[in-house]
């Protein structure tokens, strides 16, 4: 029976959905529930990962130290994971401290064409004996061939698995199969998939990834995450079980964890709003949604136009400042 490693970023990707305002007590409550369900990896932190709290991408309610120390205290069976984007997270200031707090799993991420920047962080994580993965974000923006080359670099740097993220929720199952199959063929280490639900494909794409050879999947409780949310964890666990895969997760307890998450940490359960569909079609990072809505409303611009223009300009996470530029350009056009 094939085993799928599940990583749960409810407390990291979900932070996007609440403008990074998850509190320590919410982290504690969900970690306890996730631990009871034996979810293998629970990822915690600012939506953009370690060290990302800033005016540019949003300030966290809690510091990294508080979030990680709280999670560490309440995770006994589950491993504590972090999302690390070099540039936001530095080795000396952030990564060393996270390791001292006791993180088990370090996922070092870059835009899908910039794996070069992950070398030092991946190397450092492995040198400290930590479980280290490479993550290629916004993977729909690269061809399968280029993705394989970038992933191969991460493998050289020491990544013991490569996860591609559908950060914009832009994939259809055939896109996923093409990319995952190419990665499985081109890499020695396991391949994973992190799905978003903008086009309602979160679960379908995750299953397509498994069919193509992926053995690592990400999912969040109730799909709590950026934009339209992620592949819904409890559904994923149930469907994988129905298909004959093992995850090591207790179904009843993960269902309980999702109920607790809905009640305790989600102001709103993610749904696929109109702008999320547009964001998925345009291939724009789901984490932009709150900023796009706010700025579009402020300037009375149709946010669907903003998404398509952002997609045309191929913006990536970290370029949130371009949203205002696009909105102002649309205002100018409107005046003409």
């Amino acid at each position: 029976m094939k085993h799928i490693l599940i990583s749960d970023p409810t407390l990291r990707d979900g932070n996007h959905a609440v403008a990074h305002q998850l509190s320590a007590s919410q982290v504690a409550i969900y970690c306890q529930a996730a631990d009871r369900a034996a979810i293998p990896i629970v990822e915690v932190g600012h939506g953009n990962g370690l060290g990302a709290s800033s005016l540019q991408v949003g300030e966290s309610l809690e510091t990294d130290v508080v979030l990680l120390e709280t999670a560490r205290k309440h995770l006994t069976k589950s491993k504590l994971g972090i999302h690390v984007i070099p540039g936001f997270a530095t080795i000396q200031r952030d990564l060393k401290r996270a390791i001292e707090i006791g993180v088990d799993v370090i996922r070092v991420a870059s835009h899908c064409t910039e794996a070069d920047i992950t070398q030092r962080h991946l190397g450092f994580a492995r040198e400290k004996g930590k479980e280290a993965y490479g993550v290629l974000m916004m993977s729909h923006m690269a061809s399968p061939e280029l993705l394989v080359e970038e992933a191969q670099k991460m493998e050289l740097y020491g990544a013991e698995g490569i996860i591609i993220m559908d950060s914009a929720g832009a994939y259809l199952p055939s896109d996923v199969i093409e990319r995952i199959a190419a990665l499985v063929d081109g890499l020695s280490v396991p391949v994973g998939f992190h799905g978003h639900n903008n086009l309602g494909m979160g679960i379908a794409n995750s299953l397509a990834a498994v069919d193509a050879g992926a053995t690592i999947l990400d999912g969040t409780a109730r799909g709590f995450g950026a934009g339209a949310g992620n592949a819904q964890l409890e559904v994923l666990v149930a469907v994988l079980s129905k298909l004959g895969y093992t995850t090591g997760i207790d179904l009843y307890k993960v269902l309980d964890a999702a109920d607790i998450a809905e009640k305790e940490i989600m102001p709103l359960v993610p749904i696929i709003k109109s702008e999320s569909i547009v964001s998925g079609l345009a291939g724009v990072f789901s984490g932009f949604s709150k900023h796009v809505t706010r700025i579009s409303n402020e300037y009375n611009v149709d946010q669907r136009d903003v998404y398509f223009e952002l997609g045309r300009r191929k913006v990536v996470a970290g370029q949130e400042d371009l949203i205002i530029e696009v909105v102002l350009d649309l205002v100018k056009l409107k005046k003409k």
């Binding site: 190397g123 004996g129 670099k153 050289l156 740097y157 050879g213």
Partner: protein, 352 residues
């Protein structure tokens, strides 16, 4: 570095010196230049020469050429302070003049660390192509030169023609030049071609050595090779991760054996010859992980992570060392088990 650690390196060299003393006589009172002289190869040769000079009055002078000699002074002061060692801080690509008393050269410049190749593929190719060209050109300006060892790599073999057997020097396999990993292998092949041109047109006495996997102190546990990672993860308490096919087969040669094989090649290698250099005890990554963990008293978990099912017949990257043994009468004096034990002990003392 503790005196006890320094003594253990000297003891290793004593073992590896074996019965070679007489055959190395030609190097007495000679000056040897080593490019990339502050790396793993250079440090072990310096340890070997230190033994020859201090115990057997060889009076060899070493010139170690490297881009950064300050680190070397800090890392191995017991070598740097020896009067026979002369440090030259220079990029090998810019070498024009080398000391006139040099009659022997070991060209070992360029890192085999594939992370560096991936980050800087063009610089990698530049270093191996232009560096080899520059040092050979500089040798032409010497009054005379007795031997030039070009340290190549087993990477030049690419995908072996006969994957299940030990590789002979004439069994060059297939290299896919259109990949991100190709910069190192292709530039090593190119550097060998540069050597062939200088050997043919300028009649330089060049010997090419193709090292396979090496093991021992001075390698650095951060290096991205399976055995280093296994040792590092074990020292940290585990688990060990085997990434990819656990049946992949390698063999290992210990640093002090490597140093004396290279000195033998320098003194006695046939002009124009190409020799494999490496251990002759094949071992799979799975068995290797078992041997590493058996050197630790605590139980260390071994995890295997892979993307797909691998073929039943694993790839073998083990040298056929018949040629170097026949021509130079070298032997592996420190077998793999002892080499592993020594390496682990060294890193335990050095701390990571």
């Amino acid at each position: 570095m503790k005196q006890e650690t320094i003594n253990s390196l000297k003891a290793d060299c004593e073992i590896s010196l074996s019965d070679y003393l007489e055959s190395l006589e030609g190097l007495k009172d000679q000056s040897i230049l080593i490019t990339g002289g502050t790396g793993f190869v250079g440090k072990w040769i310096a340890e070997a020469v230190s033994l020859l000079n201090n115990e057997y009055n060889f009076n060899i002078k070493l010139y170690l050429l490297a881009r950064n000699v300050q680190e070397y002074k800090e890392e191995v002061p017991h070598l740097a302070k020896q009067s026979f060692i002369n440090l030259i801080e220079q990029d090998v690509r810019n070498v024009g003049i080398i000391p006139e008393d040099v009659k022997w050269v070991i060209h070992a410049a360029g890192s085999p660390d594939n992370r560096k190749h991936s980050i800087n593929p063009l610089k990698t190719m530049d270093t191996f192509y232009k560096g080899t060209n520059a040092i050979l050109d500089a040798c032409l300006r010497l009054p005379s030169i007795n031997k030039f060892i070009h340290l190549s790599s087993n990477n030049v073999y690419g995908q072996p023609i006969h994957p299940q057997t030990q590789i002979k020097e004439n069994q060059l396999g297939v290299l896919d030049c259109n990949t991100v990993k190709a910069a190192y292998s292709e530039s090593k092949r190119m550097a060998e071609t540069v050597c062939a041109i200088y050997r043919n047109q300028q009649k330089l006495p060049i010997v090419i050595i193709r090292p396979f996997s090496l093991i021992g102190p001075y390698q650095g546990l951060e290096k991205p090779w399976a055995i280093n990672n296994f040792i590092r993860d074990s020292i940290l308490g585990g688990p060990i991760r085997i990434l990819g096919n656990e049946d992949t087969i390698r063999s290992y040669l210990y640093g002090s054996d490597m140093a004396f094989w290279l000195l033998k090649a320098l003194a006695n290698g046939k002009r124009g010859a190409t020799y494999n250099l490496g251990g002759d005890q094949p071992i799979s990554l799975k068995d290797l992980s078992g041997k590493v963990t058996s050197n630790f008293s605590n139980k260390i978990e071994v995890l295997v992570k892979y993307s797909k099912q691998y073929p039943a017949h694993p790839s073998v990257s083990v040298p056929d060392t018949t040629a170097i043994k026949q021509d130079l009468d070298v032997k592996q004096t420190i077998d793999f088990d002892l080499a592993l034990k020594k390496t682990i002990n060294w890193y335990k003392h050095a701390g990571i």
